[in-house]
């Protein structure tokens, strides 16, 4: 029998993987069908005039990669431990960690276990909860044939996270998930399947980090499927901080029952090239989707991001807000679509995307799209790309702040409104820090002082220690008279 870790994708490799895991026949058949789809489907290419990211990915030699990496169970490597320490928040309900192709650590509070919450790796879920996996895994939310790459994912997925929140269970503290990638020439597939039953609520924070040797390459392929049942609320945050030698293909989608709501908070900072497809499937009446996205690219990074707010029911709401900064020769394509199906009346949908270019060689193409087939809707979209305002820069410099730092301050300010939308403080603080550190010439302590100050003023609020002027503060208001 061939080595399970041999490089290359093939039908034999699919069979080998499934046998190695001891999977039931139905999962093997699902994988084999997916493999056939992969072979049949064409790789997605971009529109004419795009920045060529998809073509670059299509030309990538997948066959050099190992579809499965054997991982020793047990002790985590020091690098993982360290990254984990940064990510951990004291208040958490559970933690699950995938190292390369396998989940190596799972913890969940006893209280939640007793309430019937299930947090496990997907391999285990296939064995223990086959009905649910058969019903929800790559069926309605992200179907196998969504693209050539999702088909490859379905054929070779491994590890993965399975979360089931029973009806009415509200999980206060977040669940944390980490994917750590450090094998050279690995194709790591991770899958997240979240099922939030009626009237439940949960916050799930997933992070991607890598430590692949610098001269080597690797691929991370993930699919995130979120089912928000009736009146369920799910908040899914993803911090992607992969090394710039990792290729990344990601599909994230939610499927909403009536009044179900899902918020995606996405921060894409790393990877060599990223193809991201993210959507909200608003198929339940009164459901709502929110996407808050932040990206920062430098060097030769290439991102292609596609978002879809799909309105296919009565009175659904969606809001998409994306902001990103590009520097060096990096390129980002963003295609944000609002699609309102016939009969999806009383829809409200909003989309905005803003790119800030810090280098003349960086390129951004942000394109909003709107397809409306209902008549009782309110929808708006907008996209802008620009450079740092020279007058703003001069203003800060005249206050003694050196140019590079002034640029960093403006970038920080550019991101701030989106960062304020990130509900989880730990994530918001670390993201601010990552952004500052990505910018050239930052002082050692700058990120910390900036972040701490921002947080402190936030916490203290407006009124603490307020100076009360004599009499009514209104008396002191200045009226403006125009000439």
């Amino acid at each position: 029998m061939l080595n399970i870790s041999a490089p290359g994708f093939s039908r034999e490799a699919v069979v080998r993987l499934s046998r190695h895991k001891g999977e039931p026949e139905w999962m093997l058949q699902k994988r084999l069908q997916a493999w056939e789809s992969y072979q049949r489907l064409a790789a997605p290419l971009g529109r004419r005039g795009d920045l060529g990211t998809r073509r670059t990915l299509a030309n990538f030699n997948f066959q050099q990669l190992q579809p499965y990496i054997s991982t020793e169970q047990g002790k985590l490597s020091p690098a993982i431990e360290e990254s984990l320490q940064n990510a951990l928040v004291n208040e958490r309900s559970g933690l699950i960690i995938q190292h390369n192709s396998a989940v190596v650590h799972i913890e969940l509070s006893e209280e939640l276990k007793q309430q019937g919450v299930i947090l496990t790796d997907l391999d285990t879920a296939v064995r223990e909860y086959p009905e649910m996996v058969q019903q929800y895994f790559m069926t309605e939310c992200v179907p196998v044939e969504s693209s050539k790459y999702t088909a490859l994912h379905a054929a070779f997925w491994s590890g993965g996270f399975f979360l089931y929140v029973p009806q009415g269970v509200e999980i206060e503290a977040p669940l944390l998930a980490q994917v750590w990638l450090d094998a050279a020439n690995a194709a790591v597939f991770t899958h997240t399947l979240i099922i939030a039953e009626d009237m439940s609520s949960v916050r799930f924070v997933q992070e991607y980090t890598s430590g692949v040797p610098a001269e080597q390459q690797a691929l991370l392929s993930d699919v995130i499927e979120v089912y928000a049942k009736s009146v369920a609320r799910v908040e899914f945050s993803n911090l992607q901080d992969l090394g710039q030698n990792v290729w990344h293909i990601t599909n994230k989608n939610s499927r909403h029952s009536s009044d179900g709501s899902v918020t995606f908070v996405i921060a894409d900072l790393g990877s060599k090239l990223m193809l991201e497809t993210i959507g909200a499937g608003l198929v339940g009446n009164g459901s709502a989707g929110e996407l808050v996205g932040v990206f920062f690219t430098d060097h030769d990074q290439r991102f292609s991001i596609e978002s879809l707010s799909l309105h296919d029911a009565l009175s659904t709401n969606a809001e998409t807000l994306v902001k990103g900064v590009l520097t060096d020769q990096s390129r980002v394509e963003f295609d944000g679509m609002i699609r309102i199906k016939p009969g999806a009346q009383q829809t409200a949908s909003f989309l905005s995307a803003h790119g800030l270019l810090l280098s003349k060689k960086a390129r951004a193409e942000l394109i909003p799209g709107l397809e409306i087939a209902a008549n009782e809707v309110s929808a708006s979209h907008g996209a802008t790309t620009g450079q740092i305002d020279e007058e703003q820069l001069f203003y800060l410099m005249v206050r003694g702040i050196p140019k590079e730092e002034a640029e960093r301050i403006i970038v920080q300010g550019f991101f701030e409104p989106v960062l304020q939308r990130i509900p989880l403080e730990n994530l918001r603080v670390r993201l601010r820090r990552s952004i500052v550190r990505r910018m050239r010439g930052a002082y050692e302590t700058e990120a910390d002082t900036w972040v701490d100050a921002q947080e402190r003023w936030e916490i203290e609020g407006v009124d603490e220690g307020a100076i009360h002027l004599d009499g009514n503060p209104k008396d002191d208001e200045i009226k403006l008279m125009e000439y």
């Binding site: 800060l396 730092e405 050692e444 100050a453």
Partner: protein
């Protein structure tokens, strides 16, 4: 001896068009100078050129501050030498809180006159910098806010974002109070203010004046000079200072306008009407 700002035969262009045509002016610490003149005479350009706005190209002349020719210095270095500009149109910078900005600005100005972040750092290591402890900064800021009777809600807002015209001007004066410049240029601080607002802003400025602060007050209305009494008044016309005097000159301008000061040789140059 106090600091001196000496401008010698300063010529400057914007997009190739000459605006300053040989300005001579000296402002010393402790003195208040009013710079008046009609619209388009080059007053705001002078303010921007003194601070090193890259939009303008200096073609001739010198700017000396504290015994150094500062023409080649970056705007931030000039500021760290304690030169200050209160902007006519302060920029709003969304997402950056006034408190964070002022703290950083004060830290920078306290670093003093030396280049920062200019050129590559050969060690490749990030520099450490001095920071002002938040408690100390907060105390200082609140003192200044009390002095200028500025409401506390200022500090948690984004810089000038959604500020009214009056609030922006007061925020500029608050910055001036905090950064303690030796020479401050105030570019039409009175514009856009009604009488009440003008009074409040002027009182704030008067609270800061003294032997340690020299002011170059740019205005084209005499009104503000009723509140802030200048020691000297200069009139600018077509890119030059054409007349200087004491505060009586302001009164004379109020009565006679600017036209009588128009130098005859300025009538036309190269056969084209001068209207810079």
């Amino acid at each position: 001896m106090g600091s001196e700002l000496i401008i010698k035969n300063l010529h400057a262009n914007i997009e190739g068009k000459p605006i300053l045509r040989g300005v001579n002016l000296t402002v010393r610490q402790g003195e208040i100078h009013a710079l008046m003149g009609p619209n388009g005479s080059g007053k705001s350009t002078l303010a921007n050129v003194i601070m090193g706005n890259p939009k303008y190209e200096v073609t001739e002349g010198e700017i000396w501050f504290k015994g150094e020719n500062i023409l080649e210095y970056s705007p931030d270095r000039r500021a760290r030498m304690r030169l200050f500009l209160a902007f006519q149109y302060p920029m709003s910078i969304p997402g950056v809180s006034v408190a964070n900005f002022l703290r950083r600005s004060l830290e920078a100005v306290r670093e003093g006159n030396r280049p920062l972040e200019e050129g590559e750092n050969p060690s490749g290591r990030m520099q450490k910098r001095k920071t002002i402890p938040p408690a100390e900064f907060r105390k200082l800021l609140q003192e200044k806010m009390k002095l200028l009777r500025v409401d506390n809600s200022f500090i948690n807002r984004s810089i000038n974002d959604g500020f009214s015209g009056g609030e922006k001007k007061r925020a500029e004066i608050l910055q001036m109070a905090l950064l303690e410049p030796e020479i401050a240029i105030m570019d039409e601080t009175d514009s856009g203010l009604d009488i009440d607002a003008l009074k409040i802003v002027s009182e704030s400025v008067n609270a800061l004046t003294g032997p340690n602060l020299g002011i170059l007050l740019i205005t084209h209305y005499k009104r503000i000079l009723d509140y802030i009494r200048p020691d000297y008044v200069h009139v600018m016309f077509n890119g030059r200072v054409v007349k200087s005097g004491d505060s009586a000159l302001a009164q004379e301008l109020e009565e006679k306008g600017y036209e009588w000061l128009k130098p005859e040789d300025e009538e036309s140059e190269n056969g084209e009407p001068v209207n810079a």
